[in-house]
Symmetry: C2
Subunit: 244 residues, 2 copies
Amino acid sequence: MQKPVALTQLRVACSGCNLRELCLPVKLTGADLELLDELISLKHAYQRGDYLYRSGARFQSLYAIRTGFFKTQVLHEDGREQVTGFQMAGEIIGMDAISSDSHACDAIALEDSEVCEIPFVRLEELSRRLPSLQRHLHRILSREIVRDQGIMLLLGSMRAEERLAAFLLNLSQRFSVRGYSPTSFHLRMTRQEIGSYLGMKLETVSRTLSHFQAIGLISIRNKSVELNDLVKLQTFVGPPPQLL
Amino acid sequence: MQKPVALTQLRVACSGCNLRELCLPVKLTGADLELLDELISLKHAYQRGDYLYRSGARFQSLYAIRTGFFKTQVLHEDGREQVTGFQMAGEIIGMDAISSDSHACDAIALEDSEVCEIPFVRLEELSRRLPSLQRHLHRILSREIVRDQGIMLLLGSMRAEERLAAFLLNLSQRFSVRGYSPTSFHLRMTRQEIGSYLGMKLETVSRTLSHFQAIGLISIRNKSVELNDLVKLQTFVGPPPQLL
DNA sequence: CATAGATTTTGACCTACATCAAACGCGTAT
DNA sequence: ATACGCGTTTGATGTAGGTCAAAATCTATG
């Protein structure tokens, strides 16, 4: 079931990684960066559908996504699932597991992906020696908290149209930061997964996307989206005009 | 507006605090605990309605709640608000601010409260020297992430009845850990605040509570609740029986 | 302790979204 | 090429919870 194929052990380390600016090494330089390189030597490849980790599994490492796309989900014992996030290159995953030494959610590859393993005990050691790394680790943890709060706002107080608009804009922004087009991209997840993430049914996702397309806001065919008007899309995040 | 009245500077420090087991000092002993004491010397008192901090304010410290009750909320620019949590004694608040050096939410006292200020830079310094403190800080940050994921599950995939049952059980459990009755307590928040937190309108909160009372599950009068059957309440968290 | 304002409850009605169902498109295997 | 299966779209209908409104109750203040 789990297929962590150890990839090239070639030193394609942080110092040479083009995600340096986004990922864990932010602001590290020279000798400090080399110390981090030593720590993060293992790369693993995952195929679409593979689990990076499962809920309940013993916690040992954080993972930095090098390439590809993951989703994280929590399962309620009654079988209901909630997608808690979609992660892309440069993002760190697995932080929920620190609190209990075991993973609190599943992480599943949505396409063929590569991750760097970050043994957490060693990361803690190193961050004791490098204050700037320590600070950055804290920022990453905190950023996750802020992200989650944003999703609470979305789930707790937005309507379906707003949620979907916010979702598309969020993806757009993240692709943009990574040098991809902010207006044209592939959704790696199903309507069902989007729906789970946004607290709505897949049919509602589909209908709402169709509606956006009908009014010319987006063009969508299967998993390819084109955002035709980012500014107008932004106005959909917020109460309908007549209520202002 | 903000009234941080510096309280007694008497050394009512961590080492003598009865929240020691719940709060930041977990597992610290002897000399290490004294180092933490030095750091956390400032106590502040807040009255009901006071802001502990506001969204956008510069980040300097985390806060440990000594006594009282707070809520945190994020405001959407259009005025909608989402309550993101209710915090009680022994809980650490303000961690969302680490990522951007400014607070991402408001924290407001729901009753007269006291907090210990934890200057974050100094906490980082100390946690570089004390691995067990470092680990605990990471756990606290991670625990917040897990908590938020639980709320996502709640908001994204539960019905009103389930959310409210889960909410009451969560409070029950937290009071219990603190030595208070798990079956009889005061809600410090309004129906509106509960509703905001749980993603429903105050009328729905009120109706659902009335319903729980009608079937003998709880007794509620204003803000005093009595949980008459914790086990049965638990069965309300989960899909309705006919779907199993 | 009287009054005003907030909070809560309850009722009647409405709507956004869910549910159920059918048809369609597309990728993959035979 | 054909068929199977999964994901998606679209339509028809149902309902949980929202909205609006009024009454009841609580709380704070002079």
